[in-house]
């Protein structure tokens, strides 16, 4: 057993784990970003359903956010990873293929994260929509904007502005949640760290390295969202 070498995990030299860790970091970012945007689309639909849907649509959206915020994310990931085979295998058999089919780990993971974060997106976007001042909408109608133009020029930009802090929180959540996808075998940061820990027998070193990578990503993106927040709220009065 060699000594405690954190530098070895990040080293790009011979025997270093740098390239593998870098690739895994990109995978984490890819799956987190995909999941975040899937969630944003679901959230936009959910918020729309809660704001202006019929009673049945509202009830469905309420049920969705209640359920998804009340069950563990790991369970949703299992559902997508294993459950997809229950749907896809008979479908593949119908088309004449034989054998066992399931969603690729990346797709299953990104969809699971999207569905989970969609519930949070729904609440954030809905709250942001209601904090848009009604006077802004009245002004838009008063200057003769059509509904779609007012939606595009007034509602969307203002809603996004108010939603920005909440969206930043969701991103941090999604980033951390992406580590759960390691259970499906997708080689992202945590899975790569497990592989490294197993083959070098230095679990602490590798999991510490994983923790550092997550810490760096979340700090950099946290700083970026804070910058974006102050940029987009520069027109707002501050006390």
């Amino acid at each position: 057993m060699n000594d405690f070498g954190l530098w070895n995990v990040f080293s790009f030299g011979p025997g270093g784990w740098g390239p593998a860790m870098a690739k895994a970091t990109l995978m984490t970012l890819a799956v987190a970003i995909t999941g975040f945007f899937v969630g944003a689309v679901i959230g936009a639909l959910g918020a729309w359903a809660k704001i202006s849907g019929s009673r049945a649509v509202r009830a469905a959206a309420d049920g969705y956010t209640t359920v998804l915020r009340g069950i563990p994310d790991l369970l949703v990931i299992y559902l997508f990873y294993f459950g997809s085979s229950a749907v896809l295998t008979p479908l593949a058999r119908f088309f004449g293929a034989s054998g066992f089919f399931s969603l690729p780990a990346f797709l299953a993971g990104a969809l699971a994260i999207g569905i989970v974060s969609g519930a949070y997106h729904t609440e954030v976007l809905r709250g942001a929509y209601w904090s848009v001042a009604r006077g802004e909408l009245e002004a838009a109608i008063a200057v003769g904007m059509s509904r779609s133009l007012a939606f595009r020029r007034i509602i969307v930009p203002l809603t996004l502005r108010y939603a920005l802090p909440g969206l930043g929180n969701i991103w941090q959540l999604v980033l951390k949640e992406s580590s759960l996808i390691s259970v499906t075998g997708l080689v992202e940061i945590l899975r790569q760290a497990q592989v490294g820990a197993g083959s070098t027998r230095q679990p602490f070193t590798f999991f510490l390295a994983a923790a550092i990578l997550y810490l760096v990503i979340s700090s950099v993106t946290g700083w970026a969202t804070q910058r974006a927040e102050s940029h987009f709220t520069r027109g707002l009065r501050r006390e």
Partner: protein, 240 residues
């Protein structure tokens, strides 16, 4: 839908409920006990304490819980000093590793909630207490803490729900709580959707009960927010 299978699944998952509740309860209890001193450190004006608390909260809030669990369960075995120490019988057990990781994680979030609660105590209340001659620990115990608890309770209720959900991660380090049993059942039967429905329903039921308990607690702690009793009025509590 195959109700016989759903019922069988329910009976197979039920033995996992006590472990889930135990993990959640112990980590929340230990978490509160740790969150309070961390929040006080963060609020003290002694900079080494402030920075220790800040660093702790920053590290545990910016890394995934699963990484923290792995660091404690798999990682600590890397150090022979620990493996041969008196602590090893505890650190060897996945049960205690899960509780330690969950506790450290929830205490970081909890300390921020407590800090928010303490900072929300109106200054006038503290002035009034000082004018009555209270000071130091007495003022904290009688005035600041009760008001802070009332303020922080809704947010802490959310944190408890998050902890119940987080106990699912203990299944990754071999603990057979609800999610662990569900994963085992899925790999035996390949009926992920049915198992998911049952396991999800159990978690929802647990979280619903916890939400109600927190609501009752909130109602009980905020008598001054309730409308004065009017004859024949509905007995609905004030929303938080």
């Amino acid at each position: 839908m195959d109700f016989a299978f759903l019922l069988e699944t329910f009976l197979r998952l039920l033995p996992g409920v006590p472990l889930t509740l135990q993990l959640a309860f112990l980590s929340v209890a230990f978490g509160i006990a740790l969150a309070l001193p961390v929040a006080l450190m963060r609020l003290s004006r002694i900079w080494p304490l402030v920075w220790t608390a800040r660093a702790y909260v920053f590290v545990f809030r910016s890394t995934p819980l699963l990484v923290q669990i792995f660091l404690i369960y798999y990682g600590l075995g890397q150090f022979p000093e620990l493996r041969y120490s008196a602590l090893w019988p505890i650190l060897r057990e996945p049960y205690w590793c899960a509780i330690i990781a969950l506790t450290l994680n929830t205490a970081a979030y909890g300390s921020e909630i407590v800090r928010g609660g303490v900072q929300s105590v109106p200054h006038g209340q503290i002035e009034a207490a000082r004018a009555c001659g209270m000071g130091g620990p007495l003022l904290f115990r009688r005035i600041v803490l009760p008001l802070a608890v009332r303020q922080a309770l809704p947010a802490y209720g959310n944190e408890i729900i998050l902890m119940v959900k987080a106990t699912a991660l203990a299944s990754v380090i071999t603990l057979m709580e609800i999610t662990g049993l569900a994963a085992k059942l899925i790999s035996e039967t390949y009926r992920a959707i049915e198992v998911f429905i049952v396991a999800g329903a159990i978690y929802l039921a647990i979280n619903y009960v916890i939400t109600r308990i927190v609501h009752v607690l909130e109602h009980w702690l905020t008598p001054y927010l309730r409308p004065a009793p009017v004859p024949a009025a509905s007995s609905r509590g004030e929303p938080a």
